[in-house]
């Protein structure tokens, strides 16, 4: 599945099928990317109804405008991730602006939005890690195992387990640095990706 997620051919085929109006293509798109879209929306908006609403809007946008996706610029997953992220942050800003006491400092509110957006972005990156890396990190970190225990559990060498952990975190660290650069690049520098 991980390979198919990242196959440009699959993306381009799906795009053509969406353009032709195949309902099954919409279903496949949903099945593959809804966990990411809904998860990202939920993490940023922290509200079940708002996350569901945003998920509807994002998929409706792709269904109505499949031609907007440009396979040359990256994967469908990345495009949808950026779209979701941008719209969720917009929604969050609008919500904050409508709060009764905006006077406590827009700086603080903006800082909070950034933290939430970074956290969501990182989780999105974790979710998008190649499956072996994600699995190794998940069973180690969330279940509190040593790398030796993880290696035994997954049936891989200890060397491989250590490498996966290091590589996975390296990818996260790179993404984190980029996210920060993007946020400090300007107030409105959040163009998704």
């Amino acid at each position: 599945m991980a390979t198919q997620d990242h196959s440009p051919r699959w993306d381009a085929q799906l795009q053509r099928r969406l353009a032709r109006g195949e309902e099954t293509a919409l279903g496949e798109l949903y099945d593959r990317l809804a966990p990411m879209v809904h998860g990202l929306a939920g993490r940023i908006l922290a509200d079940q109804a708002a996350a569901a609403q945003l998920t509807r809007e994002v998929f409706a946008y792709v269904w109505e405008h499949p031609e907007d996706f440009d396979p040359a610029q990256g994967s469908l997953r990345a495009w949808l991730g950026a779209l979701t992220h941008r719209r969720a942050v917009e929604r969050l800003r609008a919500r904050r602006a409508a709060e009764p006491f905006p006077g406590r400092g827009t700086g603080a509110a903006e800082e909070e939005i950034r933290a939430v957006a970074t956290a969501a972005r990182m989780q999105y990156v974790v979710d998008s890690l190649p499956q072996p890396l994600r699995e190794t990190i998940a069973v180690t970190y969330y279940d509190g195992r040593t790398y030796q225990e993880t290696a035994r559990l997954l049936g891989i060498s200890e060397q491989a387990a250590k490498q996966r952990m290091r590589l996975g975190l390296e990818l996260l660290a790179t993404e984190l640095a980029e996210e920060r650069a993007r946020q400090h690049g300007g107030e409105d520098g959040d163009d998704g990706r």
Binding site: G27, Y141, L169
Partner: protein
Amino acid sequence: MNQGNTEEERHETLRSLLGAWSLGACPPREAAELERHLRTCPECAEEAARLREAAGWLSLDEPLDQPCSLRQQVLDWCLARRPAELPVPAWGMPYTAETAKLDALLRDLGPEEWQEVAELPWHGGTEQLRPAEVLGRLTAVDGFLALALGLPDPVPAAKGAPAPAERRVPPQDAAVPAPPAAPRVPPQGGRYAEVTARTARLLADQAGLTPQSVRCRWRQQTHDLVRSAALAPQGNTPVDFGYAVLPLRDAFVDRALECFVHGEDVARAVAYPYDPPAPQHLRQMVELVVRLLPRALAGLRGARPEHAGAPGAPAGVGTGGRRLRLVVDGPAAGEWLVPLDGAEAGPPGGEPVASMVLDGLELCQLAAAHRDPDRLPVGEHGDRAAIRAVLHALPLLSRP
């Protein structure tokens, strides 16, 4: 462990630990050794800081649960804005929804949960399978639909015998609702031999695969099936299961029910919650079960004459077959008149000899042999023997 190593080798060894260390996954002695090294090695210290910081972002709250109903909501929302040019036929919807639900459950399974053993009862026994084997079984039986639609068979051919020849077993008592003149239940090994053989071959074939690859194969086939179904919206293509022949539109509903039932078997094994089918899908499943019920009753008459209602000969010979009023309540509510006797009793008619009321989901669970016919809560009125016959016939619709 580093005695005798050069400083460079020691550096590389410790450096390879940085990922594990950042996740707090080194045993204390190794962690202490690495931490001593970090004080003297700026290169490693820099990487350690970066990775530690990245690991800090892992400890996030769990995401919101994705409600099962969201899929339908989102798709409906999209389709209201832009109608599909190539829609999924209504009879394909339960299968689409149930396979998506099972896939969502599997997405959350950890390596240990893939090792749990699920129990899959049917009327002839109980199978014990790991989740990946459950998927193999679903894939093998779904393969009958693939064959009918001209898609590749997921099951490898049997050794020695060419597969197509083996499949030409005539669908004796199953093709037509009317049972043969002398009702009988073929030996179970015989009737289900091909299904079990196919499942066994597929399980052997996928034994070396990771659970995720198995999931991927199964999922790909489910997507391909629905896509082909959308091109054959009439759904008349016959699907030969070996023990029964159903038109494609019924076969899809049948497979949706099977997918739900075994998805729930897996969920039970890993202690996850599992939602029932959406009401409109459950309704389609109930309708199919009710339509197949006369076949099951014929099978029951053959196997256990004491359930025929009147021992010896079917009651009402010459006056027409008896009927039973089946009232289903719950989200898939409806009412049906079920013919109780075979064609030899004459056309069914007259006042129903009995009425029974039960929940639609329970009816489907009973048809999957996942309930005890003697302990199911059922509202009864009229001929108890007829009601008992229906209750005992339903599980015969299940298979290995």
